[in-house]
């Protein structure tokens, strides 16, 4: 078998330039690297009349007249492959074959070598990258495809037929033989599909496509002749290959959800990343937060005045995060709660915890749904209405009152488009002078504010109750907390609205105006990269490459079925992306992110079987930076979240590089200490509560350790420090502890020798020490 030089294309550098018609041919709108799907392109577009290669065309057609299946079979036979031992399982490709179009004359180039693809992208501006054409099969079992360079037009010819190859070598000096390139599927392998060959009647270029519609469209142009089946392609491989190790599975789990259990690691290995993830998107959700509050008695008007309390919010939030079965959905909802931020501190209505529960339930319900629906549900929920003042917002009047601008501004700045116009890869656009380009002006804010007038809480299904326990105040029942705000037409501004190039005519009905406005925001090209980048930051890495953002944004823009804003597809793209999955991230000094403190707590609890013995889950606000986590779910200090996506930690190597590390905004001399002290405490004793038997808060009384980790799976191996540390290293940080750190921890643990028959007290001391050391290590704190 001929060995291809890695950079064959480089070697034949003179051919394309000699052949290129080149003059003044502008690159098409599709720049290399945008990953345009092949089928979206019209083959031959931009093809100039060129040297007719009648001889080759005729020959090739003749050689393949009875179908290239022959050619492929021929290749297999003469290639001496062990054809008799092929598996009959559905054949899955090992890697993509990439397609490039030569912009100047419409010839095509295919390569299965990712390095060569990158080289062409970098050094050959005349070749436009058109994405994955089809898939390679393993060289050992597949059929080799031979490549010829056309010295006249700079295009390429491929064949899987040895006969045809030899014929071309003998008769066509203008086609330089470049050896075998990628391999394709055996024609009789299971689950394979044909790749069609077309010849350009004008310039002798060849197009290979696995899309019958593309083939037909090409023929319909009259410029291309179908030449039948060239060879066969295996089906697409799982996006990031198989899951080979427990560490890989754990790494994925810790990005996709909070924790990794033995059974989950096994399930990911068995089902693959995508298979497991898709299953989780459809998994049953646990009890909803609003229902849990009701089930715990928090929706009743009694002496505890729950309607006026924030602490039930903490309890339901922790219960949802620590105890619910659907970890993926809750993890994504938590990430969304840091984007569409509402904090219970800023919700002033009665039954504010029920209002917050509905907000949370909306995030959970839409986490794998539609961004557009989520945007509308969030806009109209009472929690956001309270937080950013859409509730009670009124039209302008003659005495100078103007609509409240808060939501109009933040829905643009924070929830959809951001401050600056973005390229599709999330980098900022620049004007001719090199300045960033703002997305909106104060006038856009003032205009959009009119759309959000006329909304208020919908008490229509509630009754008033007299609160005998609190000065006889009247309090509505709780139905309104589950309803979207109602629209009150005479409070709505009827002025014309002009914002971001969209106009809404004067006196447009409120619902229509809202739909138009949210559609305009949703369809703004910034949303995909703006939202996608921040979700990558929450789940995977603080500094995603523009290409990664671009891939995720492309999925936001179109999930492959023409749907925009499909969050399931977006999160799948984030988690399955090569940049998230590649082992390169394990060694790059800038990859990853600081684990958020609240997620560390949830991970610890879920990893080691924490439950609330009483079922009351009375874990409160953990915001205190000196004694807790400097962070607590649904308690951001402002709508700008606990940290900003662009936060660059000053006075660090990151500042020199200009690299954001958002979570560092809550890393300080105080918070590092507060975290360590609390983890040391709770890892051994559990979480202390006053009187867990009752749902309400109790000021005094003894500490009861109602929420404790069981360490059920760690106790049996506690006597084996090495095994214990390996296990914690896997569950807590996907095996990312260095051997030096493992040794340091093991040695410290072994300083207090114990045996398998030692008491549980002694074993729990060791386990808690091991947990503390792992969770204190920088290798754990930075998730990679």
């Amino acid at each position: 078998m001929t060995t291809m030089p890695d950079h064959a294309l480089l070697e034949r550098d003179s051919a394309p330039s000699a052949a290129a018609p080149g003059e003044g041919t502008a690159p098409s709108a599709n720049t290399p690297g945008e990953g345009t799907a092949p089928s979206a392109n019209t083959p031959g577009q931009g093809t100039a009349p060129w040297l007719a290669l009648g001889a080759l065309g005729a020959m090739a057609l003749a050689a393949c007249a009875d179908g290239s299946a022959d050619g492929a079979a021929d290749g297999a036979a003469t290639g001496g492959q062990p054809s008799g031992v092929r598996t009959k399982a559905a054949e899955v490709g090992t890697a993509p074959v990439f397609r490039f179009a030569k912009i100047s004359n419409g010839a095509y180039f295919y390569t299965g070598n990712a390095g060569e693809k990158d080289l062409v992208l970098r050094d050959y501006p005349d070749f436009r990258y058109e994405g994955v054409a089809f898939y390679q099969s393993p060289a050992q079992t597949g059929v080799p495809v031979f490549r010829f360079a056309n010295l006249t037009n700079g295009g390429y010819f491929y064949t899987a037929s040895v006969t045809e190859r030899d014929f071309v070598i003998q008769s066509r000096p203008d086609l330089r033989f470049e050896g075998s390139t990628f391999s394709v599927a055996q024609p009789d392998a299971q689950g394979v599909s044909p790749v069609y060959r077309l010849a350009n009647l004008g310039n002798g270029a060849y197009l290979f496509t696995s899309s019958a519609p593309e083939r037909d469209a090409a023929v319909a142009t009259g410029l291309w002749r179908s030449e039948g089946i060239a060879f066969y392609t295996a089906s697409a491989p799982p996006p990031s290959g198989s899951v080979d190790t427990d560490e890989q599975a754990a790494r994925f789990l810790l990005q996709a959800q909070f924790s990794a259990s033995d059974t989950e690691i096994a399930a990911v290995r068995a089902k693959g990343y995508a298979g497991w993830l898709d299953e989780q998107f459809n998994a049953a959700t646990g009890i909803r937060a609003w229902d849990w509050l009701q089930s715990r008695g928090y929706s009743v008007l009694d002496t505890h005045n729950y309607y006026n309390q924030e602490y039930p919010t903490d309890y339901f939030a922790w219960h949802q995060l620590l105890a619910s079965p659907d970890g993926v959905r809750k993890r994504l909802a938590l990430a969304l709660s840091e984007f569409f931020v509402v904090s219970v501190d800023g919700v002033g209505t009665a039954w504010r915890s029920q209002v917050m529960a509905t907000y949370w339930d909306i995030l959970v319900a839409n986490a794998a749904g539609s961004f557009r629906k989520l945007l509308e549900d969030i806009t109209l929920c009472v929690a956001m209405g309270e937080y950013l003042n859409t509730r009670g917002n009124q039209r302008e009047n003659s005495s100078g009152r103007l609509p409240d601008e808060n939501y109009a501004r933040e829905v643009m700045q924070l929830f959809t488009i951001g401050l600056y116009q973005l390229n599709s890869d999330g980098t900022e656009k620049r004007d001719a002078a090199g300045n960033r380009i703002e997305t909106y002006t104060q006038s856009d804010v003032s205009n959009l504010a009119r759309v959000f007038t006329g909304y208020d809480i919908d008490f229509s299904t509630d009754t008033q109750q007299v609160n005998a326990f609190d000065d006889g105040r009247t309090v509505f029942t709780t139905n309104f907390t589950r309803l979207p705000m109602r629209f009150i037409p005479n409070r709505h501004s009827n002025l014309e609205v002009r914002f971001l190039g969209t106009s809404i005519a004067a006196s447009t009905p409120g619902a229509t105006a809202l739909k138009t406005a949210l559609d305009a925001l949703f369809n703004h090209p910034n949303v995909g990269p703006f939202f996608g980048r921040q979700m990558i930051q929450r789940l995977v890495t603080s500094n995603p490459s523009p290409a990664y953002v671009g891939r995720v944004a492309a999925v936001f823009n179109d999930n492959g079925a023409g749907v925009r804003g499909d969050l399931k597809a977006v999160f799948r793209a984030i988690l399955l992306d090569e940049e998230a999955r590649s082992s390169k991230g394990l060694t790059e000094p800038g990859f990853g992110k600081v684990r958020e403190p609240m997620i560390r707590l949830v991970q610890w609890a879920r990893s080691f079987g924490l439950t609330s013995a009483s079922g009351s889950w009375k874990l409160g606000d953990t915001s205190n930076p000196s004694t807790r986590l400097a962070q607590s779910p649904l308690r951001s200090p402002s709508v700008f979240n606990f940290f900003r996506p662009g936060y660059v930690p000053p006075s660090t190597a990151l500042a020199v590089a200009g690299a954001p590390a958002p979570e560092f905004q809550i890393v300080s001399e105080t918070t590092v200490s507060g975290y360590l002290n609390w983890i040391q405490d709770i890892s051994r004793r559990g979480i202390a509560v006053k009187n867990p038997a009752v749902p309400y808060q109790v000021g005094g009384g003894p500490d009861v350790f109602d929420m404790q980790a069981t360490y059920a799976n760690e106790l049996p191996i506690a006597h084996d420090a090495g095994a214990l540390v390996r296990r914690l290293g896997l569950l807590l940080c996907a095996g990312q502890l260095s051997s030096a750190t493992q040794t340091l921890i093991v040695d410290a643990l072994e300083a207090s020798p114990i045996t398998s028959t030692s008491s549980n007290t002694v074993k729990l001391d060791r386990i808690a020490s091991a947990v503390l050391l792992v969770m204190a290590s920088a290798e754990y704190l930075v998730q990679k």
């Binding site: 009152r401 660059v648 000053p650 001391d765």
Partner: protein
Amino acid sequence: MHLIRPQLHDRRAFLRRSSQLAMTGAALPIALNLSAIGQAAAFSATDYKALVCVFLYGGSDYANSVVTYDSPSYDLYSTIRGGGAGQAAGGIALGRADLAATLLTPGAALPGGRQYALHPSMTGLAGLFNSGKAAVLLNVGPLVVPLTKAQYNSPDRKLYPLPPKLFSHNDQQSVWQSSSPEGSTVGWGGNLGDLAMASNGNSLFTCISATGNSVFLVGDSALQYQVGTTGAVPINGVKAAVNGSVAVKNALTTLIQQSRPHTLENEYNRVTQRSIAAEAQITSALAGVSLATVFPSGNSLADQLKIVARLIAARNTLGSRRQVFLVSLGGFDLHDNLIAQQPGLLSGVSAAMTAFYNATLEMGLADKVTSFTTSDFGRTLSSNGDGSDHGWGGHHLIVGGAVKGKAFYGTPPPVSISDTSSPNDQWHVGQGRLLPSTAVDQYAATLARWFGVSDTEMAGVLPNIGHFGAAGGRADYPTDLGFLA
């Protein structure tokens, strides 16, 4: 051409500043180092001085904090804010009679009979003003260059540049603190720290935040040290055996401070290293402090100012001579419930700052400690029914024994929301969003000069200061506003 010059806030700027120092003739060692610069500059003083920035997060409503009081101006205010008949409260307007107790009585009356009162809940600060220990700076906000309304409306942004991202919370916070929008990594408090740190026994204690991380206190070299309201937080696991094991304690101590090849890991451990080293010093120094001044309880700003006062009290033990502190209070973004929420917030500010002043008096340092308020932005003068929206300029307070108090600085803005060519409509850019007549840079430069920054050093601290003052051809926008002795 006028440009914002955030590039001055980077390491090259440090070198540039150094060369500026060199041009003044100060002897510099060949191997440039900060302590040498500090000693060569004005900070060789042996006395103590501190600046305390009180940041009111959310954008404080200027119109109800420093309230226009003379009858004609009050009537305009009341009409715009929906006040009641007979100068009574109504809408989001405060009642005039309620302001009498907090009326500010400057030594020299303002022109045109203008008068102001503080919000009725701000009795402590009104008292400090009237006793000469506090001043009010009117209509201050970020400016790149002095601007008229016509210039603001001009399309020529090269000649008349605007501060970036006006009206946006996070960006305007950053602009106030660093002259640049979010993402900036060096602030003017930190730049003061760069110059001051060599004066201090432990340079880490130059820039101290008693609230969260923010860009204000970060310099080219000066770090922001964060302290809890009860002092530095010790890490229990490095102080005593962990779960009965000294070996675990020792391993923890190593693990959390070791240098790492991974950038994020290494920076995290650097913070922990600092935490451990500083805690030992702070805890020991604070142990010797006793302050009799009572700070109000249940007041988070007071809690922060109390630890600041205690750290100042420990200055000799810590070897501190020049310090910059940051404290903050949130909740000022009152689009709604302005009338209901302001009393709690502003009485908290007033009580906390008053107690802090009293603590400096107790320490005999009243004229060595200056505190001053800042905020994201002022708000609209117009009402949205129940509150006000994001604005630009606002009024701020400076408190301390060195303050030339019982006085207003800056220019009283006309009370107006209308948009005509009348002179009264030239100092707002719509809905009473004030066009600042004094720049944050002028405010900061005045504080910096008192702190010890020389004219030649000023551009390194405040990159845009050259656009103001006589040297910038704008004597009408002086770089020393004169409110500090």
